[in-house]
Symmetry: D4
Subunit: 252 residues, 8 copies
């Protein structure tokens, strides 16, 4: 039982469309369910949506296709939306066995399957990225935020070396409720964007670059040291993590 | 003219308590004002509140007391709330010359002077810290968020080595609209907190520790790699930055 | 002659079932044997069990299958239990030529062959890991500790982001005599576990993660900076090393 | 009520020297006591001894003398042994106000005050160090282990560059139940010691050295990469942490 | 004999105002002079101006006041302009003994004494800095470039978080022949500036910042990874080095 | 319309060969063109040549062959010279579909297609490299500088371990207007070269080396710390970047 | 003409077996030869033996087989001994085309071809290594030192975790004139060896290890911080470099 | 008994000036002496000269003046030459109490007292340094090598930015038997020197520099990656260590 389902059930009780004894039984049943299922190699966190607003998401990295498919099968069995990040095509093949309707987003390296109703966020999340090479991370953020119930506005290839590119889109970024800014190399874009708006900016460094970019360290440090207010940072290439916190903000 | 003042002026026009021609004149006057004042060594960003929701804040680090006092004088002249972070007692002495009513928060190393009306945030910001040694950073966050118009709930010394300390305060953290979690050493507290709530967690690593804490790097990396959803990170010891983004979230 | 064999021989002398002159001859023979055998590219440490409680273990990393098989052959010739860690399937193929009864543990990447009697540890070693991706390292620790004569209790996927998963297993971890905690990403699990028990915790950081996990550095630093008492750390991904010291503790 | 006191109380019940109803009352009283006391800036973990075998220890680093003294006063009020590590002379002056009988160990930078009975460990803990400059850390380990109820054998200035120094003390290190090895510079001593014994070795890197010792990183890395079995590592300069885990091992 | 003096002498020969035999003698005399003077602890490079366009400059860091003064005395004896960088007030006191007319620039921490004629650069060098705290480095660059014969335009506190500050000065930066951009924290200013102009940008990272700025590493990496064309970087805080190469460019 | 074309048009107006009304129409047309074209995944910066002196260059790294070809097609459509750096053979195959006349420089990993007239630089750019393994980076610099309108003099394998190799080429390096010095390993060559000339030296560290070269960090640090004046540094392996700034200098 | 050939020629003149005019002609001819040959991509340093005691050696890393073969052909044409390090089998195939008699040492990854007479070193060089996995580096050192005219004594798998292995070989290491010690992981062997002898020890860290060995950094730092006297260090995996300096020492 | 004394005694026996029985008694006496004296906090290695060619040297860093003086007193009691490195003036004051004839070398921060006869090295050791700021390290090397019985030739301020300074001293460096090269910043001098000679070069990086010199890391990495043959490296600022190995080489 998700928090949205719980709220609707209570609304129904209040409105008299559901009997309170019936409702009490359904709530008690959900509470009796174990908060996780132990698969031996994994404990599927079946209460996560209640605690955190979205069901458990599968990080594909370091898991075998068989492990991913087994966890996915349990999530689907609970009728929750499915999201697998960092998924290789082999993982998708395995997941499709247990979830034929699932979709593979190649650029984002993500598998999704919408299931049940998800509460909609109240505003728009802008996903901006500095260069074409940052697209896989930006798309991971966009796909994640979409399945979590948010409206997305994509704004790609607006790096600071051609400052007119971002300045010409000021109206779009000023309409956002939260902005995810994805950038590699020197990672300067979040500072410029945050200086133009009064909404939170979630900065995602990417491992794009070479030499002294050190796999994203340069961008990460740049963002952590941003001289602009209103910027917080997630791990290198962590488009998912940026979307997760942006979605929480957008659902308040 | 702050955004709050602007909104109130327009409300007054709508309500007929202010003449529209008069209002037009006042808005035009604010727009004619230069967006920054050049002091030679500094350009005071007088339009920042319009763009970013709070006036320019002075980072005391690396500025002389005389420079700090000169910038403070300009902010006060514009009748904006004053906040100086990383302020040494010498800086406070200089600021008091130009702002006798200013307050020095010794633990937070901050100077404040409330001025004009600030829009109130809609919920509570919890500021939690792992250990007693993290207090200066936690207090910088709390003082900053307070002057920006937020209600604060402080929750100190709740590190993960005695997990019952944070678990026994679950009801307080679940009432928050945003949570700032301050921790040094291994920086594990944000992961545990974020796993218990469905609101954004802003994690602040501190330089508390020794040896392989490397001045806060261990805590920073721990937080960036958090396995929990809904965590974003600011710079080491950056209590101010955490409060700035938390306040933006709390004002939506 | 292992220390267990030596002790049994002396017990037999005391009990009169073995003649003291006969025993003296057998002990002298063992002492005359060279303490290592020189294979040119390797010196097999045949006295290690006497000094350290378990025969030499072969680290497969950086050795050719032929070198591994040659060292394994000497260990088997001395009738000692065989353990090869970080073994590729090619190494197993080569070892099987000289030790047809050997077993390959694919997840743990280890080859084992029990041989002779090994002294049993007095308690249980819990092997806990934070996520499914940590299994290879956790299994290396478990397999190693088992062949060294210990009883193992596996507790997998109990990371701190869902703190109820570890809290619900408190009784199992409190029954342990030593606990091995395996975790990647932010490496926070050992701090939480050590805060719940009064037995030594051996923490193993893993290279699981991406971006600012830096191949396990984040987890390593987190564990070294643990705010909990009773934690010591081994090298990144060193499941074997954790089991070796845990076994020594469990044999006291 | 410590675990030792609890065990004695139950023994007395079994032996008939204490009435069972009386005992039940005393146990219930201890359970009713809050598991921590909130001083605002600190939460004193009054149940830690039950969970972890030794009362809360105060890390002096980053706390003011007044904060240290206030926490010390609460520990003494509960009649528990007091240990403050990383204590400056000013902290000792403040503690002496609330605990006149406390002792300051200058080399170890520690404050102690024995109080109540502590369970004795079953064997000897050897504390070895490589050079004279490592003494402060070695002494912190020795003082900590002593107040935790262990017998200590100190073995100082036995670094590997004069290998005969450690070899000539083989009989002493082979009599130990646990060995703490403290070393800076290249940190090679734990590998040599662990190769000579079959007991756990807790390695403590120190920040002693210059240039490429990088404040103890060289020693830390050396110890983490030890080619010997049975070595686990604590943070740089963390004599306290080494003693804490060594004491747990020695109390099994 | 500087290159300017040499060129003027040859012009005079061409114009007949100096006898060619006389000129030959003077040139031969200069060539006979040793290319350096050995003071024991230092070799003053008296031919550097011929090879590199400006006489030897004294880096004050790591030299005693007496050493600085002794080297300064030799430079003055050769009638060359004097520049001491990273000079403490004590060094200035010592230099004033041998060069009473020397000037101390406190903000730039530099000592100068103009002497002889210096060839003028053909355009203007803009020195821009991101924040007030970057002034010492920016002033070192400006003072250095001035004594090397360049016209300077200072543009201070134009960091990217308030992008309108630099955009409003576009006409000044587009008039420059070379631009020195000084910035700490995330070091993003050079990328934005270089995207607006078609002249070389010399980027100087500063050690301004805290936490993950790591003494200027964040800014250094940001600048090395600049996505804009036409940026090259000098060492952290190396205002002098930026001015030296900028002056060479401006003298072509 | 490039700056060269603009200048020629204005010259023609001055000389009367083009009617001023006609010219005004052509300039207005160019200004009406959007400053970039949005391809969705990329915004081609069509005004870059006006702002920065050379059209947008495609960094092949991290882009798919299809993306590279699509951007290349737009640049060619604007009749601008094409340069793709870090181009794999697959990228060249895709580009050849849209630009059959393009050339692939295998050693430099670059694709070029000259198009339209490019303003010539006024002097020679020397490209020197320390060892044979540095050739790919040196060639990237040389090819880039050539297509940007510069005359190149290549000076390869002149590392400092055989100092006579560079000393014997002094006359060539002294004839240069700018010098690009490419070196891996210890990166000492720029210091030696800069000490011999009075022109700017652009230093390019390469990732050539092993062990403690750390992928070019050793060379990068060596160059940033150069004790010679007149050296500025670009990113590791960034031959393109060195050529871009060298070309700006050579065009003044 | 090598230094040995030169010395022999002068001896022959002294002894009257060669005419002085004839000798003068041969010496002059050698001096007339250019000190290097320019192949375009490489300058073969034909005078290196005169300056440095051994002809130019080819580092195979980063060079194509064709480049290696071309340089090898020139060295052979000058009748000098050939040594190619870091040579892949493909490089050997190419070299064999120009030097059919060349040998490939697979473990050492080196190609050699003895040619002409090389002066013999006066003592023995011991090459010791800590583990079997260090053999490739140890063999590179041994093969290099052999072709440079030295007698080698190999002592493999004598790491410090079984200290009796090195102690039992004391007589061999004490007979050496120089000792090369090769070790990965914690790199402690050089300290122990240097403490036992009074000859120079050249320490070679290897990249053997995993996790916190960081590709040899742990061993490198351990060796740089050696507490023993008489140790100097070369680059990670640089068996060649160790042999080169050891050979210079052994030829004095 | 030093090795020199031992050799002289045996020569005297051979020559008949000392009776063989008398000699046997003196040798037996020396062998009976313990190989070290235990002062509790230090074990003075009284046999080090026999094993390593020079008595134990006191590293002053991290020892109290009292500890230094106590160890010094024991060395003097054995009539061995005294050397204390990294000695503060306070340490000298304490040593002078037990050794009134000791000398303090302020620039080198060393205390010496010659005592007994030391075997002379066979050649000259050149100590070269790149800049004036490197003098303290260079002097530590020179003072150390002198008391160990070597003839020193100092060559200071010969850095590579003015390459003629070192080239003009070629004859001096070519006369050396070993060369110690001390350099900070980019650390390029050893490569240039080693390319000019055929004797071993011991490179000493110094912590001189700022910014990206990272306390000597830049110089250290430069030296480890030297492209010249015959270079080995000691720790940053380790003038003593360089002299120790150089002296061993010079005594062969």
């Amino acid at each position: 039982m998700t928090s949205l389902e719980l709220q609707r059930l209570l609304d129904a009780v209040r409105d008299g469309t559901v009997d309170s004894a019936d409702a009490a039984g359904r709530i008690a049943g959900a509470m009796r369910a174990a908060p996780f299922e132990d698969l031996g190699f994994a404990r599927v966190d079946t209460h996560r949506e209640v605690r955190q607003g979205f069901p458990e998401v599968i990080l594909g990295l370091g898991k075998t296709p068989a492990q991913i498919a087994a966890i996915a099968a349990r999530i689907i069995a609970h009728r929750r939306p499915l999201l697998v990040t960092r998924a290789q095509p082999e993982a998708f093949a395995a997941v499709r066995e247990v979830a034929p309707a699932a979709t593979y987003h190649a650029e984002a390296r993500a598998i999704t399957l919408a299931c049940g109703e998800v509460e909609r966020g109240s505003g728009t999340i802008v996903v901006a990225c500095a260069g074409t090479s940052d697209l896989p991370v930006a798309e991971e953020a966009a796909i994640t935020a979409e399945i979590m119930g948010n409206t997305i506005d994509r704004l790609y290839d607006v790096g600071v070396a051609g400052i007119h590119r971002i300045l010409s889109e000021q109206s779009r970024i000023q309409r956002a409720r939260v902005i995810i800014v994805v950038a590699g190399m020197e990672g300067a874009l979040p500072s410029v964007v945050a200086g133009l708006v009064s909404v939170p900016v979630i900065a995602v460094p990417t491992s794009i670059g070479y030499g002294a970019s050190f796999g994203g360290i340069a961008a990460l440090l740049g963002m952590l040291n941003s001289c602009a207010n209103g910027v917080a940072v997630v791990n290198i290439d962590n488009g998912f993590g940026a979307a997760a916190i942006a979605s929480l903000i957008n659902h308040q």
